[in-house]
């Protein structure tokens, strides 16, 4: 049975259910214990599972991830919380050099089942170091999986999938969605498989590929275009690595027009990769150049005026869709 709950509560529910299901699952991070995490996601977990299964760690991101790798080598399934996605840089080496290469350099004899949860994204008055979108760094690194849920349903289902996955999974939860993405969430053990996109809106004229907080804005823009006679198919990638090429190409074959929307900066963002893939594999299907609506190659400013300027939104997406439709 599904009830309406918030994205943030769905994350907690996934953690609690997985910790109850599997004693090898534990949570570690800064302020995750009695305090319940900076966003309250781990609230109640220490109370239920004890100090060591919901472990407060010092401000030592590298160690939080390194400890997770060590624990995974002994059959545990740690879920590390980065207080903000921006802070993941302090643990970068342990993710990209330690966790990502472990299986390869062990000749395939081990797995590294860790999850690194990272609250990402802007539009929350975060400024330079509480608003970033780090997905491309990790999508660019083989040996990792990267997921980015946009709904409460997926927040729960993808976290369960990530915890059960035998690879390091970077789980990007968007802070703007924590309370705004409220929706139906199954009570049972519903898994959202890693690697499968979801079609959020069907349409035959343009394929719009997006993820995370940009799904909402994209759906808004698609509704506006519908009133203008253009039907946009909105694909929510949900998993960024490996991204669902099949779903994107199948939609493109129907629409022949593609726009990629992401909150991450433009240069070498997911849009670049998707565009290049389409060029290589479906060039003959394209009736127009692939477009991108993204953050500019800029940092995330604190001022609301400046941030609004940088963030993609429904207006900017609708403009791009109109250009694409008229091409």
């Amino acid at each position: 049975m599904a009830r309406e709950i918030a994205y943030l509560d769905a994350i907690r529910e996934a953690l609690r259910e997985e910790m109850r299901r599997d004693p090898q699952v534990f949570v570690l991070g800064e302020d995750v214990g009695a305090y319940g995490g900076a966003f309250g996601i781990t609230k109640g977990l220490q109370e239920e599972f004890g100090e060591y299964r919901c472990l407060d760690m010092p401000i030592s991101e590298s160690c939080i991830i390194g400890v997770s790798v060590g624990a995974s080598l002994r059959g545990f399934r740690p879920v590390a919380e980065m207080q903000f996605g921006d802070f993941i840089t302090c643990g970068f080496d342990q993710i990209v050099n330690q966790a990502a290469t472990l299986r390869y350099r062990y000749g395939g004899r081990v797995a590294c089942p860790i999850v690194v949860r990272a609250p990402v994204g802007g539009n929350v008055a975060g400024g330079l170091y509480h608003s970033q979108n780090p997905e491309s760094w990790f999508v660019h690194r083989p040996g990792l999986k990267v997921v980015a849920p946009s709904t409460a349903w997926d927040a729960k289902g993808l976290l369960k999938a990530a915890i059960r996955d035998n690879n390091p999974v970077i789980y990007l939860e968007h802070k703007y969605l924590y309370r705004r993405a409220k929706g139906p969430v199954p009570e049972g053990d519903e898994i959202v498989p890693i690697g499968q996109a979801a079609v959020r809106r069907e349409g035959s004229d343009i394929t719009l590929v997006t993820y995370g907080a940009m799904v909402m804005a994209s759906l808004d823009a698609a509704e506006r275009l519908s009133k203008e006679g253009v039907e946009v198919e909105v694909i929510d990638l949900r998993t960024l690595s490996p991204w669902d090429k099949g779903a994107v190409l199948a939609s493109l074959e129907k629409t022949s027009r593609l726009v990629v929307v992401h909150e991450d900066v433009k240069t070498l963002g997911l849009g670049a990769e998707i565009s290049a893939t389409v060029m290589e594999e479906r060039f003959e299907h394209l009736d127009a150049p692939v477009m991108r609506v993204t953050y500019p190659d800029s940092h995330c400013p604190f001022s609301a005026v400046l941030e609004r300027e940088n963030l993609p939104n429904a207006d900017k997406i609708a403009d791009a869709l109109r250009t694409l439709a008229a091409y």
């Binding site: 534990f26 060591y52 760690m57 010092p58 030592s60 590298s62 160690c63 991830i65 390194g66 400890v67 997770s68 790798v69 060590g70 624990a71 995974s72 080598l73 002994r74 059959g75 545990f76 740690p78 080496d93 342990q94 050099n97 330690q98 290469t101 299986r103 390869y104 350099r105 062990y106 000749g107 395939g108 004899r109 081990v110 797995a111 590294c112 089942p113 083989p142 040996g143 999986k145 996955d165 035998n166 690879n167």
Partner: protein, 327 residues
């Protein structure tokens, strides 16, 4: 708390001779590698431990099967002592399909979970948070096992080593931190990288005991290690053992090590851990010419067989260059 420098221990003649065997095997392995790399038969990745062998032999001797080691790049001997055959180790150096990483990476970048061996990356010190993670699982499972985490005086200055020691102290994790202080971090002498003489002094700041010992005395290392291991097994937490030593070769076999004087090298060669220990055994009438010859012959035979195994092993299959990326 009694100093672990005075930890009481007893070793039989047989055990002492076994220590001598390990010292000699590790020396012979590194000496052979030094030749093989000059002959171009081993491509690179040779970081000699010649001159430092007493640290590995003294600390790994008597470890239990489920105890874990997290060695540094120079500690090839620890893999042998923990149960990897010289042949497989040589194949690893030759980048053969029969090596631990199936040719994906050289040296100690691969591990063997079932033997309690963690293989680190090239990021020195990055093994210590992993060691803390493994130790955390021993604590969670209420096992009496320990983790030995090795790092050089160079890596002592990394954030990872700081973070790991701090976390291990907070949770009294069963880790023995072993600093192999060979004076040079590649070319930079210790006085140019830290303003203290003894790395062991840092332990007090984390809240545990640190001792500085003669790292070229295998029995001094054994005594300190056994003391620290006993402490860790009984839940008293980590210890830092700083082993003062010297590497006879350059940082890698490609390094001519012109940054140090001949006199300095000669002085340290006069403190050769093998000669010292041999003399000790001779004085105590534990080592006859016959036994010495027997050990030497056994060592040569094992190294010859290891080289033969590596040379007759197949190269990795090109089809495996990009496999084992994900589980």
């Amino acid at each position: 708390m009694a100093s672990i420098k005075r930890f009481k221990f007893k070793l039989t003649t047989e055990q002492l001779l076994e220590m001598l065997y390990w010292l000699k095997l590790i020396r012979a392995f590194d000496e052979r590698l030094s030749v093989l790399v000059r002959q171009g038969r081993v491509r690179s990745g040779v970081y000699s431990s010649i001159g430092q062998e007493a640290i590995i032999v003294g600390s790994c001797f008597g470890l239990e099967k489920d105890d874990y080691i997290c060695p540094l790049h120079r500690d090839l001997g620890s893999f042998l002592m923990k149960g990897v055959s010289p042949g497989v180790m040589m194949a690893q150096m030759y980048a053969k399909a029969t090596g631990l990483s199936k040719g994906r990476d050289s040296a100690l970048h691969s591990g063997v979970p079932e033997l309690g061996i963690f293989g680190n990356t090239s990021m020195l010190g990055a093994n210590t948070p992993v060691a803390a993670g493994i130790a955390l699982t021993f604590k969670l499972e209420q096992r009496r096992n320990v983790v030995l985490a090795y790092f050089g005086e160079g890596a002592a200055n990394t954030g990872d080593v700081h973070e790991a020691m701090n976390v291990a102290a907070v949770h009294k994790l069963p880790v023995v931190f072993i600093c192999e202080n060979n004076i040079y971090a590649y070319s930079v002498p210790i006085e140019k990288s830290m303003a203290i003489e003894d790395v062991a002094d840092r332990a007090e700041a984390y809240g545990f005991d640190g001792v500085s010992i003669n790292g070229n005395d295998v029995l001094a290392v054994y005594q300190a290690a056994q003391g620290a291991i006993a402490r860790a097994r009984s839940g008293e937490g980590p210890t830092l053992i700083e082993c003062k030593t010297y590497r006879w070769h350059g940082h890698s076999e490609h390094d001519p090590a012109f940054y140090r004087t001949d006199e300095e090298l000669a002085m340290w060669k006069s403190r050769d851990p093998l000669t010292t220990f041999t003399t000790y055994l001779r004085h105590r009438q534990m080592l006859s010419d016959e036994i010495l010859l027997e050990i030497d012959q056994r060592v040569v035979k094992e190294i010859d067989e290891a080289v033969a195994f590596a040379e007759s092993s197949p190269d990795p299959d090109p089809s495996e260059a990009a496999t084992d990326m994900l589980a």
